[in-house]
Symmetry: C3
């Protein structure tokens, strides 16, 4: 009988500790760095250069005093603002059927090297995905990989948060850029 | 006595399961899709057109190579950047007493149809609300309703997150737009 | 024996209540308004004015119809878009060794008084911090202190959220601005 009581006491002590653990700073202890959803996409940016209107998916809309709106400016494009509506594909082929559009803007924000700031959304309206994922963050584009924030989502991606890793998969001159995005969502509702 | 022990054992088992449930992926199981706060507002956007400076609440600040800063550009305004400081009202009357200001920018981001990207804040400083709500997301404005993300807040809206549904409530030509915003907050601190 | 049972029953009741508390709207009850991390930084904005290219860290890239890209526009700079890559320092000395860069943009968004909207990142790559913190929000810059949202982070600041309080620490004419930022993070993973 004595040992039974000891076991019970031990069991209750464990339950109590579990409870305290549940209350004490749960924001730190509970969270998992294992994504609740992972996805990989490519998107394709074709900047308007005065001659490619039909194919262009992006256009310069802001420039420094020394720039214009048809050619990216000197000094590492510092001050250029580009608006885009790029097709999203599942593989790295520009001509694959798009599964959505990447829409938003980027700003070249440094004189000395190429680096940018991004604000954009992935907008899906297919059988696979409906809804949007919103992104923001710094894109030091000379780095092989760059992390930006998933700041929210709607529809299938209701209230999501996470981190997206961007890689420049390919580029041709200063007109075509292809980006690979590895999305890891850590909050899924 | 035996049945008393059985009841106790069952009770302890339930407590244990509750504890495990509390730890196992709480991010998914605990969250409620019932908003912790709901609000409806209207805001009123009057774009500067070269003649209406006194009434204007918004102005074109970026344009594609084929555009300018007093008239929204051809090709569905693709590339126009508009900055705004719009009055927020509780009903759809432009002349109702404003309860705050909607401040930020939108970018028309597609050649083929009207669609935009929004980054803005609701700034309140009244007896009803003090603080700000920050928004970002894609606005495919030909759709009857569009969902964007509430990405944060300050003051009364400290650390909030949620989803806002935008509807074009009315417009006159390309100068006046009235938007209705249904805000649903799912994280309230 | 009786009192022992009473104590046990009381203990189990407490455990049950703790469990229920853990499940019932944890989003409201658990969250702490005590920051999990606090940091203070300064950043230094030197706007290009046509003559200071070497020292400039920011440049005008958007303007209203009545403005240009070398001087901030009339009407409280309404409609000016400025892109920046500003050094971050630990104290208020522009010449202190930078610990990172503040990169992004601000938009003057009101005719009647100075007020702005900010979207930017703190980008760290030092022994002290690696990673980025992303910010967005309204900056009514005539107020002594202004709160904006920390909308996400990467690296050392993985998935963080919080509130940053901005103060104009100093300014010289319309070329140099020094901002103090008190960052309070309430979600630390």
């Amino acid at each position: 009988m004595r040992s039974k009581h000891q076991i019970l006491t031990l069991f209750l002590a464990i339950l109590l500790l579990l409870n305290l653990g549940c209350f004490a700073s749960p924001r730190k202890s509970i969270r998992s760095r294992r994504p609740c959803k992972e996805m990989v996409f490519y998107f394709h940016d074709i900047i308007y250069n005065g001659k490619n209107f039909k194919n262009a998916t992006a256009t310069i809309v802001g420039a420094p005093a020394w720039g214009n709106h048809t050619i990216l400016a000197n000094n590492n494009h510092f001050g250029n603002v580009v608006v885009f509506d790029d097709p999203i594909t599942l593989d790295n082929n520009l001509h694959s059927p798009p599964v959505g559009r990447a829409q938003g803007f980027y700003i070249y924000d440094k004189k000395e090297i190429f680096t940018a700031w991004l604000g954009f959304s992935f907008v899906f309206n297919s059988t696979a995905h409906k809804g949007s994922i919103n992104f923001a963050g710094a894109d030091p584009l000379m780095n092989k990989t760059r992390d930006i924030s998933v700041i929210g989502g709607t529809g299938d991606f209701f209230m999501t948060r996470g981190v997206a890793t961007i890689m420049t998969d390919s580029f041709e001159g200063e007109v075509y850029f292809r980006l690979r995005v590895d999305i890891k969502l850590y909050e899924c509702w």
